[in-house]
Symmetry: C2
Amino acid sequence: MQIVSPYVHGYDEAEGLRLQDQAATLEELLHCGTTYQSRSRVLEVGCGVGAQTLALARRSPDAQIIAIDIAETSLAAARRRINEAGLHNVEFRLADVHALPFALSSFDHIFVCFVLEHLPDPAGVLGQLWGQLTPGGTLTAIEGDHGSPLFHPESAAARRVIACQVELQRRAGGDACIGRRLHPLLAQAGFIDVSVAPRMAYANASRPDWVEGFTRRTFTAMVASVRDDAIAAGLADAASFDDGVRALERTATLDGTFCYTFFKGTGIRPA
Amino acid sequence: MQIVSPYVHGYDEAEGLRLQDQAATLEELLHCGTTYQSRSRVLEVGCGVGAQTLALARRSPDAQIIAIDIAETSLAAARRRINEAGLHNVEFRLADVHALPFALSSFDHIFVCFVLEHLPDPAGVLGQLWGQLTPGGTLTAIEGDHGSPLFHPESAAARRVIACQVELQRRAGGDACIGRRLHPLLAQAGFIDVSVAPRMAYANASRPDWVEGFTRRTFTAMVASVRDDAIAAGLADAASFDDGVRALERTATLDGTFCYTFFKGTGIRPA
């Protein structure tokens, strides 16, 4: 995981569970349309604890997936998860996306999910990844955008805690609102036939799985996880932070609604 | 059109053209999934100049559509549009949604698009519409949400002009951010099997029709149309308003992106 330290989402066990829940709820939303041919070589950049790796490996059982991350503890968790699922098409490797250990043009496809948001120079990294692809190879990128949450009831307190995470991520060199920039980033890196589409997570009382899996366990949990860092950084006091988290939880009640927009993009390295 | 006076979007010819462009670009996005059976009686509430009426009438050629509005000039334009399209399945009627001239349970289906956003009491109106349906009949509602625009480059000036429109609409008794509330509004009005889904207009360089038809001619044009009212209301000065419009236009250039989320919901009057 080419995450700039300190990684705002953290690396602890609760975080690992949150990412598992997120993966289950979101897998179809995010992975739909992504399958790789038999024997194609696929690089997953920043696999973390393997939440997306599992989906990739299941959906492309005959592809050869190489998943890299810079955190050995994350790789160990990812390896365990893939083993427990009985999958044998993933090779894990400790590597930094800024210093890739592969020869140029080593991969038919590259997959990168929730990683560009953490990089100080996503354009530069996309340029490096471009060079790792064979001519005609594809890159798929998925990112969120923390400017996208739309919820009812609206709440200034909730907006402030979301802004805490955006600001912490900015100070760590990232951009929590990168989703909207995905199209120009891919185009400027030299990819052609760039196609980006929004994919929206949407929860209301008629979709209790999304209320629980996304509003509560994914988005609110993620924002809540930066509480100590936000307070330490002077971005919020404890009481106002907790008010904001309660306001997000309120959107998960019977008459609440919550939307979040992801962006999924693909581009081709020209032949 | 049960629009509270003053109708913030205005009624002039430029507005009529804007609504035509919007209808062409958005028709498939908004109307996909909405067709009505032969001989079913369909009430369109607040048809305005007929932008949505045309799509409804084309997509359900054998349904019997009754389209109401409170503005005679809008009805005349809508009638002309339907006649020019050679359609014969629409009857227009001058009526106020707050004092409907029909017997209870007169309709098999009700369609309401970009109307609830203008009403001081959308919940009350939905309750009235519920009563107009036959048991088992459906209501379909489509609304935007002015909290939803996500664009690149981000711009405080652009946010301010959007906020002008939101504030003018609020002062006129409406809610430009009603989309996110559609699910609880329909559920609380007594509809069952309520289903609401986001539908996103998304423009980038790879989708020039959306850049032109939506970013420029629909969203930016709509916001720009409140310029005089915003200045008169003291919400902006001319220079800062024009800066904001230019910032929106900037998102329609080669490396810009623009997203807007509509919500489409349906509910059933229980038998």
